[in-house]
């Protein structure tokens, strides 16, 4: 009787120790779900979702505070991916949040006064320039978030859509007539 009790107590202590050890040793820093959601988001850092950047939006989704259909740059494909990831139903975009095509900001360099306000607004440091020097968008790094447009005091920044060219052209989904079975 006592031997059995001792064995049971011994086993439970041992298992408890193993569990306690692994809880410390294999502790997961941060919320892995946030990382997964963040990986799906397009990283434009545009704030159109109402959160200051993609990571905060990912955190809000993970906490259940935000809907999954608030990210226009991600497109419907993005919503689908989020729905898959979180095991919830697909939700179409709300009114006024329809996705736009890819854009890039362009500075009219004749008008730019070199005030650096857009430099401070750019979330990905994609504008080069200095005080009283002309500013230029580094087009390859621009995410098209439009955050630089509003701060410009002389309205010299415009958004231009990126059209498909021969290098980014994609094959269309094949559409061909299907014969009805006789």
């Amino acid at each position: 009787m006592i031997a059995a009790l001792l064995v049971m107590i011994g086993i439970s202590l041992l298992l408890g120790a193993v569990l306690g050890f692994s809880a410390i040793k294999f502790k997961v820093e941060g919320n892995p779900l946030v990382e997964k959601i963040d990986a799906v988001l397009p990283q434009t850092q545009c704030g159109q979702c109402g959160f200051p950047g993609c990571k905060p939006y990912a955190e809000a989704i993970a906490k259940g505070e935000a809907d999954i259909n608030l990210c226009p740059p991600g497109g419907e494909g993005g919503i689908r991916k989020l729905a898959d990831l979180l095991g919830v139903d697909f939700k179409p975009f709300g009114e006024g949040t329809a996705p736009k095509g890819k854009m890039v900001a362009v500075i009219d360099e004749n008008i730019c006064i070199g005030c650096t306000l857009c430099l401070q607004a750019c979330p990905v440091d994609a504008i080069s320039g200095a005080a009283k020097q002309m500013h230029t968008i580094i087009a390859s790094e621009c995410t098209g978030c439009e955050l630089c447009v509003a701060p410009c005091p002389v309205d010299c920044i415009s958004m231009q859509s990126i059209d498909e060219d021969i290098t980014t052209w994609k094959w269309r989904y094949p559409v061909h007539p299907i014969q009805a079975a006789a």
């Binding site: 963040d38 988001l41 397009p42 990283q43 434009t44 850092q45 950047g53 993609c54 979330p123 990905v124 440091d125 994609a126 790094e141 995410t143 439009e146 447009v149 509003a150 309205d155 498909e164 060219d165 021969i166 980014t168 052209w169 994609k170 094959w171 269309r172 989904y173 094949p174 061909h176 007539p177 299907i178 014969q179 079975a181």
Partner: protein, 565 residues
């Protein structure tokens, strides 16, 4: 006798090769203009080096290579640069790309040029010559040849020279081998030296006995050791690099592996010819052999200056009036040209004139019955019916699991499909969709990195500023004790900072109160003594003024620019 191996699958479409091999290669007439695209090769587009209106000589570089993977583009004849602009090019998309238009002056005047002795020249220089001469793979892939003639990382045992030319209708390599065999084998010898390869295997399909004989004769004449011509069975797509390597050496190049890792490099026979011309004669790649066949009166091979508009070329072969399209390449893998005005490029091996009689419109597709005939003929040993299934469902992850990227788009599956499903279109769609997604994912990754770095940078700047301030304060504190022992003697009483603030605030308050009082007292009293009629008039004017002010305020609000969000 060498034992040949087999690749999986393959089909036997009607070859239609005899039509265009009856007559020798002729030089195409000088065209009225040349439209030379700057992106005729794999890699970066060449950068234009000429101006509109400039006179250029034959062989002059008009586009310099940009970056490591790129190639030069030359003026195919002497003349004047008429335009540097976006023009429709030979591409599936039918989209425009940057082209240089040259109006020939008819003199065909060469730039100063000369060759080198390849045995006395360092290999780096030979590769540089190839790059500057714009030599690229002429089998269709147009990969810069200088990049392929390295053997630094892997030891190359075998150089495979591809003269299989398996696609129906095309005979340009056949005719080149018949007529210019000597230069081809000499070029192959140069490539062998560059690669330090032990042997050269020249694979030619057994439906080209004249070409096989000509190359064999050239090898005997020159006394090339380590070179062997091998007749391979005629079977489409036996001219695919992986398929030919498999047949000749028995080596199966695995998915995602380059043949060089297995000790084999592969060049087209026409590329070997151009290598020889470029190195020993200093002639850049200015022209190529193009088969013009299909719905023409006189199918044959032409030596065509690069940039010659297709419509001017096909007219010389007597294109028939019921021609409704030009196909560049063969009927299995070719591209329907968007217009007859596109220029011949380094990749143009064949122009087939199409007519409704010759190429009737495809029968309507029926549902897939999963008969797996496509799997039986697939030379890459894939499961085309599964790939089709997943591509159709846009399940791109699954298509990659089924090795979509091993598909060489040869079209054998669609050729045998009893349901006439355009299978290759689905694979191309899936491939380009996957590439686009990878581009987007990479862009997102860069944006994330840059954003995270920016957040880190702002935090760091804040900290540095705080540290600087702290240090300044410290320095000020350290300096204070030195000046403290000398108090101002005239100071009446010690005013503590709190007192000072109070007095200051008090003074401000009193000043404001005084100003208000004065304003109240300065009320104009000049209307008190007026007659009632005058007072009424004043009231009326005041009312009108108020109204105008209101209107102005409204208009001002409208004028304000709408805020962009």
């Amino acid at each position: 006798m060498r034992t040949l191996h087999k690749f999986h699958g393959g089909v036997h479409p009607p070859t239609h090769k005899t039509e265009s091999t009856r007559t020798p290669i002729v030089k195409a007439a000088m065209p009225s203009r040349l439209v030379i695209p700057l992106h005729q090769h794999v890699g970066n587009r060449a950068i234009p080096t000429v101006q509109v209106g400039e006179r250029v000589l034959k062989g002059q570089i008009i586009g310099r290579p940009e970056g490591r993977l790129s190639s030069a583009v030359h003026a195919s004849t002497s003349g004047t640069v008429a335009a540097i602009d976006m023009q429709v090019v030979a591409h599936f998309s039918g989209m425009p790309d940057l082209c240089i238009t040259i109006i020939p002056d008819g003199k065909d005047e060469w730039i100063a040029h000369g060759g080198v002795d390849y045995k006395q020249t360092p290999h780096t220089e030979l590769r540089h010559i190839l790059r500057q001469a714009g030599v690229v793979g002429l089998g269709g892939a147009v990969f810069p040849s200088d990049m392929k003639s390295y053997s630094n990382r892997h030891e190359i045992k075998t150089l495979v020279l591809n003269g299989a030319e398996c696609e129906p209708y095309i005979t340009c390599d056949d005719m080149l081998m018949r007529e210019r065999a000597t230069d081809i084998v000499r070029g192959a010898e140069v490539l062998r030296e560059l690669l330090y390869a032990e042997e050269v295997l020249i694979g030619i399909e057994d439906n080209k006995p004249e070409a096989i004989a000509a190359i064999r004769q050239a090898i005997v004449n020159d006394g090339h050791a380590h070179m062997e011509v091998i007749a391979v069975p005629t079977l489409y797509p036996g001219g695919g690099a992986k398929q030919l390597i498999r047949v000749l050496t028995g080596i199966e190049v695995a998915a995602g592996v380059r043949s060089t890792e297995m000790g084999v490099q592969c060049f087209n026979v026409a590329t070997a010819y151009c290598v020889w011309r470029a190195i020993t004669h200093g002639e850049p790649l200015l022209s190529r052999i193009v088969t013009v066949t299909g719905n023409v009166a006189d199918a044959r091979n032409f030596e065509v200056l690069l940039g010659t508009p297709v419509e001017e070329l096909v007219a010389q072969a007597g294109s028939k009036p019921d021609t409704d399209r030009h196909i560049m390449g063969g009927p299995m893998m070719g591209v329907d040209l968007p217009s007859g005005s596109v220029g011949v490029t380094k990749a143009t091996n064949c122009i087939i004139e199409g007519s409704p009689a010759l190429f009737p419109p495809p029968a309507p597709a029926l549902p897939c019955i999963r008969c797996t005939r496509c799997a039986e003929v697939c030379p890459a040993d894939l499961q085309p019916q599964e790939l089709y299934w997943f591509a159709k469902a846009k399940d791109f992850g699954k298509t990659q699991e089924y090795s979509l990227f091993d598909c060489i788009e040869c079209g054998a599956c669609a050729y045998v499909c009893p349901s006439h499903i355009p299978l290759v279109q689905y694979y191309r769609y899936a491939k380009s969709e996957i590439w686009a997604r990878e581009r987007d994912a990479q862009g997102a990754e860069t944006a994330r990195d840059r954003h995270e770095y920016r957040v880190f940078r702002i935090e760091r700047e804040k900290q540095e500023k705080a540290e600087r301030l702290a240090q300044k304060e410290k320095a000020a504190m350290a300096a204070k004790p030195a000046s403290a022992p000398a108090p101002a003697p005239s100071a009446p009483a010690a005013i503590t900072p709190a007192d000072f603030d109070d007095t200051l605030q008090f003074r401000i308050d009193t000043a404001v109160a005084r100003a208000k009082e004065q304003a109240a007292q300065a009320h104009p009293e000049n209307t008190g003594t007026l007659a009632p009629q005058q007072q009424a008039e004043v009231a009326e004017i005041e009312a009108r003024r108020a109204k105008i002010r209101e209107m102005a305020a409204d208009a001002g609000a409208d004028d304000e620019p709408p805020k962009q969000s």
